[in-house]
Symmetry: C2
Subunit: 200 residues, 2 copies
């Protein structure tokens, strides 16, 4: 049985929860509270020295970190991760875009709003909101010519970008200027086996 160290609030954790559910893979879920430092205990650091969830532990005890790497591992051999060389590379392109140009802004501001940190660093929130809107504009532009982010179908790239985009409003991002993004969110939600971020 797989074991997933996770935090319900985390979009990065949600990527893995959603994918496991859609692939019908059973998994034991262990919730850790990031705010209480539960990802920085000696026990957890022994599993993931980078001190972050999600962390997947395989049946043989091997560990795998980084939400998007875990997604690629789980989706290997399924339609959610294409085999074709360029299509596969494009899935990765959007996953790296998500971790570098989207998550540090859209997800981090949401986290700061949630913890109250946003009120203590208003200037940084303004800067990060602007960068988050840059990422949303890149997505809106891509969706002008495409229904999905890669391979002309629903893939783990869509899950990666959905995870924090669909809760961007919790970080004060208004998605009204991004009608294609909003329509794409609806298409992702309509996929078989979809579950909300609140479901453990």
């Amino acid at each position: 049985m797989l074991r997933l160290y996770d935090h319900l609030f985390s979009g990065n954790g949600y990527k893995v929860r959603l994918l496991l559910h859609q692939l019908g893979i059973p998994c034991e879920r262990i919730g850790l509270d990031i705010e209480k430092g539960e990802t920085r205990t000696p026990d957890f650091l022994a599993l993931n020295p980078n001190g972050r969830i999600p962390l997947l532990v395989l049946a043989d005890g091997s560990t795998l970190a980084e939400s998007n790497a875990i997604q690629c591992y789980l989706a290997e051999g399924t339609p959610l991760l294409p085999d074709e060389r360029l299509a596969r590379a494009r899935v990765l392109q959007w996953m790296f875009f998500e971790q570098y140009s989207h998550e540090p802004y859209v997800a981090v501001v949401r986290h700061w709003v949630h913890t109250g940190e946003a009120e203590r660093r208003p200037e940084e929130v303004t800067t990060r909101r602007a960068r988050g809107h840059d990422a949303l504009r890149v997505m809106e532009r891509h969706l002008g010519a495409n229904d999905w982010f890669a391979a002309d179908r629903y893939t783990v790239a869509d899950i990666a970008l959905y995870a924090y985009t669909h809760v961007a409003d919790e970080g004060g991002f208004d998605l009204a200027p991004y009608p294609r993004v909003r329509n794409w969110l609806g298409r992702v939600r309509a996929q078989p086996g979809h579950i909300p971020i609140t479901r453990g």
Copy 2:
């Protein structure tokens, strides 16, 4: 013929240059000066709406962005990107670690030192240096039990992490406390077909 939009100072560009050279793949290189805004012109934004190098253009005109996605595309089918499912996922794990937990600190501070921006934001430099050292500590710990980052051999994960670690001193990072990282840098440099970051 492949075409690579690149900037010689960029470690992200260097990942692709080094890999192309080691794989013996010919490629036309087009240098763009990030400081002069050459990655934000309408012509370049038409190729990469995210306005970043490196960008690879394939023979049929298809484009591929994100240094680590480009690496995976080019290394597909070679020993530099393992086929085995978990080994491949571990390569990705370290590449996502590089883009999320290493590059925004080690590379960005180097860039700010280079442009003079570091003097204008001393507090942010201090914070980012601390996070950069967190990443270097995670690497040092991993290299205590491993010669390479994934698959027990030199892979694109090593290239991804080498790119900015080997010039970390340019951002004021002292690598003296990381002897295993320094030894690993030497092992990467000793690989056949290695070229320095200064070579276009």
